[in-house]
Amino acid sequence: MKYALLVWSNLKRKKTRTVLTVLSILVAFLLFGLLGAIRQSFSQGVDVAGVDRLIVRHKVTLAQLLPSAYEARIEQITGVEEAVAQTWFGGIYQKPSNFFAQLPVEPAEFLDMYPEILLSDEERDTWLRTRTGAIAGRSIAERFGWSIGDRIPINATIWTRKDGSQTWDFELVGIYDGAKKGTDETQFLFHYDYFDEGRRFGQGMIGWYVVRIADPERAAEVSAMIDSEFANSPTETKSEPEGAFLQAFANQIGDVGFIMTSIVAAVFFTILLVAGNTMAYAVRERTNELAVLKAIGFTDRGVLGLVLAESFVLVIIGGGAGLALAWLLVSLGDPTNGMLPSYFIPTRDMVIGVVLIFVMAFVAGILPAVQAGRLRVADALRR
C-alpha cells in the first residue's frame, strides 16, 4: 500500500494520456457489456431452456403443421410425461414493427409445462374460464401500456377467420412474470379452442409440441422413440431438446454471437495495443527515474512490480468503469423498448469481463515491466 502514491503519481504525470487510455479501455469494456446483453437476448431462452423439455416438429420445416391427434400418441410413449401443442399465430398488433410472439395453447397444460411462467391464481382461473381470454408477458404489457381487461385486436397474417375477417379480438385477463432472468416476457398466449374453431382452415393442425420427459438423461432416446412412432407416416416428426431447438432458431438470424465476439475481440486487440503503448512510453521516458529507484535500493523485481501495478491500475479503472457503466445502462432497460425478449448482462459475461480486465492489465504491462526490471542501474543512470 505504501507504494500506492508512487504508482498513482506516475499515472498523473501525463494526465491527458492517462485519461485517453482509460477512456479507450472504458469504451471497450462498455461495448463488451452491451454486446453481451444483446447477444444474450438473441440467444434468449437457450440458457434457461428446460433440460426436461423436448420440441417435436415437422421433419421438413417448422412451417409445416402436425396433427393435433399426435398429442395423445406422444403421451403414450414411455418416458414422456406430458405434451403441449403450440402454433405460430404470426399476427400484427397495430403495425408490423410491433413484433412479438402470439401462441394459441391449451392454458392449463401450458402453465403446467412452464413453471417459470408466473401467473396469480386468480388470473389463471379467469383465463381458464374466458374463451377469448389471453395473457401477456410483463415486458410487452408495459411496452404497449396494456392492463387487465383491455381488448386487444390482432390482425392475422396467416389465420383468416371463418367469416373472412382478419381481426381476432382478445381480452387481456392476465399478465405473467418470468421466474428466471432469461424467461421470455414478450409472449401473448390465448386459447387453442377459440383459435381452432375460429380459423377458416387447418382445423386439427398445430405447429409443434413441447414434450416434458421424466428423465433429462434419456432425452436422445425419447426423441428417437417419438420420431420412430411417426416414421413412414405422411407427417414425420423431428424431436430435439428445447435448448438445441432454441439455438437453431437463434442461429437463423445469423450467428449473432459469433459476429459480436469478433467485434469485441477486434476492439480488445486495438485497446490492448493502446494500453501497451502507453505503458511502453511510461517506461521509456522514465528510464532515468527507474534507475534512480534502483540506485536507492529498489530491487529489479520491485521496479518490475511498480510498472506492472501501474498497468493494473490503468486497466482496472477503465475496465471497471466500462463494465459498471454497461451494467447501469442495461439496467435502465431495453433500448428497443421491449422488442428484445430479455435484456440483461449474464453473470457469466460479467465474470469474463473481470477476468479480461486482469488479462489485459497483465498483457499490456508485462513487457515494459520486464524491460524496467532488467534496466542496469549504472547504464541507465548515464542516459
Binding site: V292, I296, G297, V377
Partner: protein, 237 residues
C-alpha cells in the same frame, strides 16, 4: 582479536583492491580502471578529481554497489560487495549508501517530503515514522519550509538539498556524491558544500565526492586524482 577488528574498522571503511573495470562497446574494450587500490577511513571526506572520462563515476558506482568490477575486490564495512547478487546488492545499497547526483534526479511527480521518504519505503518503518524522519532530514538541509513543494518549483540549490536529504534519510554508512555542485552557481555551490562539510564534521558522515572544481575539493579532508585508470595524490600534467 577484538582490538584487531576495531582497528580494522577504524582504519578502513572502504577497501578497494586491485580493481579493473572494462566496458565492452561492441567489439571494442574500454579499460577504465586498472589495478586500482583505495582505502577510505571512516569519517573521511574524500574528493575525487580527474579529467572527463577518467572513470570517476565508474569508481563511485563500484564503491556504491551500482556496478561490479571486472577484476579485484571491494569491501565496505568489512563486507565484500563485488560478488553479491543483484537482489542482495539492492538491499545492501538501501542500507549502506546515500547517493547525490549532479542533476538531483528527484521524482518530479512527488513533493519534496515524498521524495525524501522514498528510500524509507524499503524499510519496515511505519507511515508516521517515515514522515517524521523525512521531516528531520529536510530540516537538516534547511528546507522544512519547502516540504510540500514539487521539484519543478524549487531552485537548483534547493533541489540538490532535497537530493541530499534523500541521501541521508536512511543514515547510510557512506555518502557518495557525483559532482553535486556541477549544475549550480557559486552561491548555491557554497551552500551545498557547507552542508556536506557539516554532515562530515558534525555527524561524522563518510563522504566521497567527485568534482571538477578545485574550490569544492578544498573543502574535503583529502583529494585524490584519477587518471589513466589509477589514483594519485597529484594531478598529472
Amino acid at each position: 582479536m577484538n582490538e584487531t577488528v576495531e582497528d580494522g574498522a577504524v582504519s578502513g571503511l572502504v577497501a578497494v583492491r586491485g580493481v579493473d573495470k572494462v566496458f565492452k562497446r561492441g567489439s571494442e574494450e574500454i579499460h577504465v580502471l586498472g589495478g586500482l587500490d583505495l582505502d577510505i577511513p571512516e569519517g573521511e571526506f574524500l574528493a575525487l578529481m580527474g579529467p572527463s572520462g577518467s572513470g570517476k563515476s565508474t569508481l563511485l558506482n563500484l564503491i556504491g554497489g551500482l556496478d561490479r568490477p571486472s577484476q579485484g575486490t571491494i569491501e565496505v564495512a568489512d563486507e565484500r560487495i563485488d560478488n553479491l547478487s543483484n537482489r542482495k546488492l539492492a538491499a545492501w545499497r538501501a542500507r549502506h549508501i546515500g547517493l547525490v547526483f549532479q542533476f538531483y534526479n528527484l521524482m518530479p511527480v512527488l513533493s519534496a517530503r515524498r521524495n525524501v521518504e522514498l528510500p524509507l519505503l524499503l524499510t519496515h518503518l511505519s507511515r508516521s515514522e517515515r514522515r517524521k524522519r523525512a521531516e528531520i532530514a529536510l530540516d537538516i538541509v534547511g528546507l522544512s519550509h519547502r516540504m510540500s513543494h514539487f521539484p519543478r518549483t524549487l531552485s537548483g540549490g534547493e533541489q540538490q538539498r532535497v537530493g541530499i536529504a534523500r541521501a541521508i534519510v536512511t543514515d547510510p554508512t557512506l555518502l557518495l556524491c557525483d559532482e553535486p555542485t556541477g549544475d549550480l552557481d557559486r552561491t548555491s555551490s557554497g551552500e551545498i558544500l557547507d552542508l556536506l562539510q557539516a554532515l562530515n564534521r558534525e555527524q561524522g558522515k563518510t563522504i566521497v565526492m567527485v568534482t571538477h572544481d578545485m574550490h569544492a575539493a578544498e573543502r574535503a579532508s583529502r583529494t585524490l586524482f584519477l587518471d589513466k585508470g589509477r589514483l594519485s595524490l597529484e594531478p598529472s600534467v
